[in-house]
Symmetry: C2
Subunit: 566 residues, 2 copies
């Protein structure tokens, strides 16, 4: 552990922390015990090291376009820390570093900040760390707080982003880049750490390119954050927060499973946060073994309709009824609807009709729908039909995000089971219970894994900035090994990028990592789901433990992807 | 710990457990670690003891009527175990005991069964324990399983009721009593342990009275179970499951609080399970310090209207907006609506109108409502109005239980905030997020407290049956002390009873213990809520820990009621 870190300090001493910050004296026992949890560092960071550059990098796609968009940064090598006889970075250099949290909360964010801070204390004594408040807007408006040891201390190993808060603004327009530049110059920043998801890291790279192009000295390093788990690649095996969020959801799912089995009369439909990709749903399935799991990427790949999905669920329910199991647990990703092409078509047509036509009570307007969309509309439960027609956003568009997919599925399943009952092919009884697990998982106390991973990511970001790097994403690897064996480096952000055509222009993007149907996690799930459907193989992970044998377990997705689990 | 219990055994050895039972080989690490968690016993149970009877008992109310209803049992003394030079119970006597789980799940139920079993192994070797399947129906239908060491072992310290499952049937009619009697005779039962809430324990006492009256030897002992915490009295300081359920909900609430503070833009409306009493909501408030907490008993005592409740919430939101806090967390008991007299009147009138009149589209039917009910109906959000009119139970009645109170309140708060915005008295911005925490809490892994408490309750039930007692409820006290100092005994169930007049007859009831507005837990809450409303004193309890300093914490309600916390 870093020698500069205050540990086992008297918590009461910190009740004088700034008003805006946390006061550790109102902490729960578990929160308090976590403050003093010792954070291990990879051994390469605990000893003298040097930085070794790799070969020139390319891009994830369309390298020529990426090269044009990043003339100063394209082709940068990735960097890797290796043990050395003496430190290669001058430790007498003082730095001014800014840090910003961007986008939705993810457990562990505070430890990234602690990691940066401790690096500066350990290896660049006298440096200053500024925390920009409220996300990228804080950079543009130059709203910041100086992060001192006392200020940071109560947030060690704590959930949430409230040390400096986050925001969803983007630095995009020339005017906004100018504002960021002004702040960088005003604060004389040597570096900026951007903690965020795919968009925010793309933004970080654009900022790095912009600073470099304008000869502003400020260097920019990204950190991979998102509970959704969709920012990852070979060099960045996972995004922080995913591990904790999945374990919190899995605890609840496991409890609900035992309840289902004890009561014997409910089907629990659990919608899980994660709109773009279904990693969370897949990981929770691997942890808990539900009867049915819908993976959005599979639905999209197989071009399934809502009717197909409903029938799949109903088929399993009917088979289970024959075994006298009239209960079960079903996991559904939040973004399911977005994966179903026919739903997208319907929504588009509805938006068009609602914008231009009168919706008459007799339903004549429906004639404007294509046959496929009309069939789907009629298949939807009445409550959902009404929701689609009545609740619209300020632009008059249908609000897809507001649809409670789990409730919609319960109603469609009910209807189909009623049909089958009439035909005599179903004799069970069905009661659906709906759940949405989302906000509970974004700000929990980070698991030991996320706590250590974030601390290493932050510490590494400090190293990279100190050694003059820019446009890299902090990369900590070998994550299936003990922390001391983790590898540390930085990956060229341009190497993760491709372009997308938007409004006639190429835009750089880090492609979201979707659930790969040929990947180890999905294949493991697919090989077991039939057994899980009919037998009850429920596993209840229980609450996250911070000490004891289970406290250092890592999520299945990561272990399977690293080949460390069969 | 009981010497007869298999501990630290090879889990794999239990994969041959009966098909219907659990297979510990598919347990999570935390589940597995809990199986071997050593269960401490109060020292009085670990050493020779004798049973001392107290003075004759009376009833909680109307003792004359209770005496008539329980001619054989009324006036029974309570029993208390005290240390003795030698055991007063013959240990060579073999017993045949049945056990049944009645009503909703509560964490710890399996440990009551383990406690009974271990008692029989320890002190009445060769005894048989039958588990009746699926609740009281299992007694009436004589559906049971013999509980062996191998069968019980994987359920030690595990959540759920799935070892033998539960049910909500009641043994009420003469025919049903006859069936129970037949089972008791057929299995030659010396005793029966009924694990349940207020109704089930009333039932247990009726059964005890019935057996005694008919000279059936089977004795009956009750055990206090319910997460709602509304079965308690001086001798039975708490019902099991309450501690665990509250801690599970408080974990989630704490996470949502940190999320609210990090995001700064949502008001989270959290509805908590517990229809009859608001103990869970109150306990969660004491654990987490939300900005607003609605306690049903206070709403009823102050005869508040739905408008009053809405205004209270809106007032706090407005004051917080002036402090630039446009976020917060609000706790609402599941049963809130049942505590509001005007809502009850409206429902009664609607049921009457829906049964006898035509509901015309022009709303003429509304003229049949009283002015007060009409005003309330018009005050309700449209979605709730429609729900009341359209969704009815098989008897045609309005389904109050289906109303999602938290969503209703969000809509009413939105409307009122809009009014105030128009008037210029509110300048903030409001976004509500709704949550219901219920099923997640009923089957979690029991806390160390619930695990030990249940084990002692079960062990004590064994003692009471073995010593010939009937019509008592297992009573474990001094719960704020370490387990070894807990007191053990049995309380006459008739002493907890009062009568209610139903269908022209007196019915015995154990009155539900409601939140006392003069009790220590409510008073502590009331003394702090104003501070919590405007300052952000959030506490995040974090996940339940099974080892370490926080693992033996007991809930605030119990400690405050015992005077062990200020």
């Amino acid at each position: 552990m870093s020698p500069s870190v205050v540990t086992n300090g008297d918590v009461a001493a910190f009740t004088m922390a700034p008003v805006a910050g946390r006061v550790a004296s109102v902490y729960s026992e578990v929160q308090t015990s976590r403050i003093d949890h010792a954070l291990p560092l990879p051994s390469v960071l605990r000893n003298p090291f040097k930085i070794v550059d790799g070969p020139p990098s390319s891009a994830a796609g369309n390298p020529d376009e990426i090269a044009k968009l990043f003339p100063n940064l394209f082709g940068q090598p990735s960097a890797m820390l290796v043990p050395n006889e003496a430190d290669s970075i001058r430790s007498d250099q003082k730095l001014k570093i800014g840090v910003v949290l961007s986008g939705g909360q993810a457990p562990g964010g505070h430890n990234v900040l602690s990691g940066i801070f401790d690096y500066l204390q350990d290896r660049a004594k006298g440096s200053i760390l500024y925390g920009f408040r409220g996300g990228p807007a804080g950079i543009m408006k130059c709203k910041y707080v100086e992060l001192t040891a006392d200020y940071i201390y109560p947030y060690r190993n704590q959930g949430g982003f409230d040390m400096i808060c986050s925001g969803r603004d983007k630095i995009e327009t020339p005017e906004q880049f100018k504002q960021a530049e002004e702040t960088a110059v005003k604060l004389d920043l040597d570096g900026l750490v951007v903690i965020g998801g795919d968009d925010s890291n793309t933004n970080a790279c654009l900022l790095a390119e912009n600073f470099r192009g304008k000869n502003v000295k400020t260097r920019v390093i990204g950190c991979p954050k998102t509970i959704d788990g969709d920012l990852k690649c070979k060099e960045v095996p996972t995004s922080f927060g995913f591990d904790t969020a999945c374990k919190i959801y899995a605890e609840m799912i496991g409890n609900v499973m035992i309840d289902a089995r004890s009561t014997g009369k409910y089907y629990h439909f659990v919608r899980l946060m994660g709109r773009a990709a279904s990693h969370i749903t897949l990981e929770c399935a691997l942890q808990t073994h539900p009867n049915i799991t819908i993976i959005g990427e599979e639905v999209a790949a197989k071009k399934l309709t809502l009717k197909n999905v409903t029938d799949y669920i109903v088929d399993v329910i009917c088979k289970r009824a024959e075994l006298d199991y009239n209960y079960g647990v079903i996991l559904i990703p939040e973004g399911l609807i977005d994966f179903i092409p026919e739903v997208q078509h319907l929504i588009a047509e509805l938006n068009e009709i609602l914008a231009h036509d009168i919706v008459d009570e007799n339903g004549l307007w429906k004639k404007k729908l294509t046959v496929q969309s009309l069939n789907l509309f009629d298949f939807l439960p009445q409550a959902i039909q009404e929701q689609l027609m009545l609740e619209r956003d300020p632009h008059g568009n249908v609000q897809v995000a507001k649809i409670e997919t789990e409730k919609m599925l319960i109603q469609m399943v009910e209807t189909e089971l009623e049909n089958r009952k009439q035909k005599g092919s179903y004799k069970g009884h069905f009661k659906g219970q709906s759940h949405f697990f989302g906000y509970e998982g974004r700000c929990g106390l980070p698991t030991n894994f996320d706590a250590s991973y974030c601390y290493a990511l932050g510490y590494a970001a400090g190293v990279l900035l100190h050694s003059g790097k820019t446009g890299l994403i902090s990369s900590v690897g070998n994550l299936d090994a003990p922390v001391e064996e983790w590898t540390v480096g930085g990956t060229a952000l341009t190497s993760l990028m491709d372009v997308e055509r938007r409004h006639g222009k190429f835009k750089p993007v880090i492609k979201k990592a979707m659930v790969e149907l040929e990947g180890a996690p999905f294949k493991k799930f697919a090989s077991m789901r039939e057994e899980w459907a009919l037998k009850n193989c429920y596993i209840s992970p229980g609450p996250i433990q911070f000490v004891g044998p289970s406290s250092n377990a890592v999520n299945h997705t990561l272990l399977l992807e690293l080949g460390a689990q069969a």
